[in-house]
Symmetry: C2
Subunit: 451 residues, 2 copies
Amino acid sequence: MQPFESDVIVVGAGFAGLSAARRLCAAGRRVAVLEARDRVGGRVYTETHHGTAIDLGGQWLGPTQDRALALAKELGLATHRQHVEGHNVLHFGGKRRLFRGTVPRVDAASLAAVGWVWFRLDQLAKEVPLDAPWEAKQASEWDATTLDTFLRTHAPTEGARKLLRYAMETVFAADPADLSLLHVLFYIRSGGGLDRLLSSENGAQQDRVVGGMQRLAEALAAKLPEGTLRLSTPVRAIEHDRDGVVVRSDDAAFSGSRVIVALPPMLAGRLRYAPAMPSARDQLTQRVPQGAVIKCIAIYERAWWREEGLSGHAITDLAPAHVQFDASAPEGTPGVLLGFIEGAAAREWSDRPRGERRDAVLACFARCFGVRAGLPVHYVDKSWTEDEWSRGCYAGYFPPGVWTSSGKALRAPIGRVHWAGTETATVWNGYIEGAIRSGERAAEEVLRSER
Amino acid sequence: MQPFESDVIVVGAGFAGLSAARRLCAAGRRVAVLEARDRVGGRVYTETHHGTAIDLGGQWLGPTQDRALALAKELGLATHRQHVEGHNVLHFGGKRRLFRGTVPRVDAASLAAVGWVWFRLDQLAKEVPLDAPWEAKQASEWDATTLDTFLRTHAPTEGARKLLRYAMETVFAADPADLSLLHVLFYIRSGGGLDRLLSSENGAQQDRVVGGMQRLAEALAAKLPEGTLRLSTPVRAIEHDRDGVVVRSDDAAFSGSRVIVALPPMLAGRLRYAPAMPSARDQLTQRVPQGAVIKCIAIYERAWWREEGLSGHAITDLAPAHVQFDASAPEGTPGVLLGFIEGAAAREWSDRPRGERRDAVLACFARCFGVRAGLPVHYVDKSWTEDEWSRGCYAGYFPPGVWTSSGKALRAPIGRVHWAGTETATVWNGYIEGAIRSGERAAEEVLRSER
C-alpha cells in the first residue's frame, strides 16, 4: 500500500487540529488532517431542531478568548449574547428563590463561606505557573489533596458546599472527589479567575455564535486547501523514527515529516505507537481521564419564562440537572432550556434508558420554572461519554498526583510526534479558546523544528 | 480471512488468562489464548543471570494465597522461604540502625504514630465490603480523600509519615497522593490486613518458587491442549453481538461464543470494541491507571551480608530505592539484592539513562549494606512502565472518586465480553493469587452463561 504523502499529518479535526492545519497551510505546508468522525468540530457539535441551532457540545465564547473571537470575526460569523435578563432561580432544600448575578442568595453563613472559598481559590490560583503547575511552591501539597477535601475544610455549611460543588461540576464536568486541588487552581488561573469561569456577563458563558458553534469549525475547515481534510478516517497507529512518520488508519497510510496528535491525552494514549511511547508520556495518558457530561435540551414554542421575568438560569439541588441555562436564540422563538448532568451522575445516567433520563431532567426543569417546563415540544440530549470519538467531555482533568509527577509529559514532543488539544493549553485550558491556541502552538513548534 | 474458531477466546496469558483457560479446557471447551508477548506470565517474568533465577516481575507467594500455592503443588513446583534471618537496616536522616521484624525502631513518637495509623487503617478496612467497596458506610468520604491527606492528618511526625509512605509505596507502587483512601482500605482487606501485606514471615513476601515464578506460568501453559496458546498475537479489536464474538489481531481473526479479557482495565480500554463499550465501562478504563515500579537487582558472588548478621532487608529515605530485600536463592550463592523504585520516582527514573539509574541504586545499596554492595558482579533492572504490554506494575489502582462512581463496571460482563485480571479480584487484589482467582471466576461465569 503506497502511503499518501504530506509534510505534516494532523490527527483530529476538532478546533485544535483545524487551527494547527490552518497555520501550517498558511505557511505553505502540505497537510493531511485525519478525522475519525464524518464531521469536523470534535467536542463542538450543532444540530438543528425545530428550526433552531442546538449546540450539543461546546457553545460559548467570552471576553479574553481572543483567538476564538478573532477567528469568528475573520470568518464572518456573527455572535450574540447569552440571554441573562431577569431573575435566576435557586431551588434548594425544597424551596425556590430568585436571585440576580452569579452568586445566589443563600443564608448569610453559607454566603460568607462561599465568598471565602471563592476568594481563597482565586488567591491560591495566582501562585500556579501556567506553563509548569508542578513548580508552584505548594504544588506537592495541593496536588496531594482533592478539591472535596478542600471544600470540606473551608466551607463549614452544607449550603455552601452544595453551591460550590455544583459550580465546580459545571466548570469541570467532574466531581470534587475526582479533582486535584492543584489542577483546580491551575484551571482557574488558566481561565482568568473563578468569576470569569462562572459568569455569563463578562465571563466564559457570555457569547454564542449565531447558527451554532459548529459553524465556526466548518468555516475553518472550508478554508483548508482541497484534499487536506479526510473524514471518517480513524487513526489507529503511528510509526515514527528519525526519518519521518507513518500514520495508519484502517485502510490507508499517510507519511510525512511530522505528526500533530490533536486529541485529548486519554484518546492519544489509545493509539498504537511504534516505537511505544516512553514511560513518562504513556503514564500521563493513563492518568488524565475525560470528564463526563450529558447536555440536555428542551424546546418550547417560545421562551415564555422571559415573559415571567426569569432568565432561564437555575441552580438546584434536585438531581440530576443541577445547573440550567436559557439556550434560545436571541429572539426566543423557539424557547430552549439547557440542563447539565455532570460527573458521576453523567456516568450513571448515560447507561440508563433515554425515556427515564428525559423524565428526570424535565422534572428538574419543571421544579425550577413551573409545570410548563415539563411539557416541551421536543427533548434531545447528548451523552458525551457515549460518543466513541470523545469518550467524555468537556476535557481531560488531572486527578491528584498527576500534575506533579507526569505534567512535564503533557506537551513535550516525542521525536517527530507533537501534541495539541485543549488539555495542552496554558490559557483557557479546557475551552475552545485553549484548543485553538494549542493547535497554533503545535503548528509553530513544527515550523520551528524545520529551521 | 476465515476466522479461527473456538468456544471461548481468552485475551492475555498472564496468570488470569492461563487460569481461565485451564478451567475452561478442563470443562471440555475449545479455547484460544491470545498473548501479545512471545512468552506467558504477563507481569511475572524470570531471567537467569549468573546461573540464578532472577524474578524481574511478581516473585512472592504467601499464606492464605491458597489457589496459587495449590497450583504450585499440583504442578510439582517447590517453594522456598524468603530469607529473613538477621537484622534489617533502617537508614533514615543519614543514620543507620538495625532492627528485626516488620516495623523498624524509630523515635518513640514516630513509632506510636505508625502504630496508630496501622491500627486505624486495619480497623477501617474491615468495614469495606470486598465485592462492593462503594457500599461501605463511609465510602463517599473515604473515596474523596487521598491516602496522603489521611497520613498528614493521622501521622504527626515526619519519621512516621516517611515510614508509612515507603510501606505504602511498596504495597501499591504508587504514591499516597495518587491513591483513594477507600482503595487503600479495600486493598488492605483484600489481602487480609496490613501485617499480612507488609510482612515476609507469615505475609505476602514469605514464599518463592524454586527456579523463579515464571516456572509456574510455564507449567500452567504446558498443561493446556496443544494449539490453545498463541504467542506474539497482540489483540487489537473485539467485535461482539448476540451471536458471538470476533477477536482480531494484526493478521488473524478468532471467532467464538464468548471472550474473556484478562488484562488490566487500562490495557483493556485500549482495545477497540465494536460496538463501543458503554459509558460506565469506558469511563472506568480511563480512570484506573497502572502503578509504576522499577525492579533493580544486584548480583554478588555470595550473600556476604548474611555473614555479617544482616537479612538483606533495608528501608531507607535515600532516593531512589527506598525498600530493599535479599533475593538470593536459599543457599546464598550467588547473592542477590533487590531494590524497588516506585511511583513518581519510577516514572522519573524510567526515562533516565540506564547507567545513571544503576549508579543511584547501587549507591542506595552501599549506604545500607556497606561499600561491597556498590560493587556487584552484575546489575540488571526492569522498568515495568517501559514494558509495552504492561505499561506499569504491579497493578491498576483507583484514584479518588473512582470506586464510588465507576466501581460497578469493574467485573460486570458486557454481553459476551467478560473481564478477568488481578484488578477484578476480591481476594488478594493486585497479587498473583488475585489474578488466578479472577481467571477462575471469569471461566465459571462463562460456563454458567451456557446453562
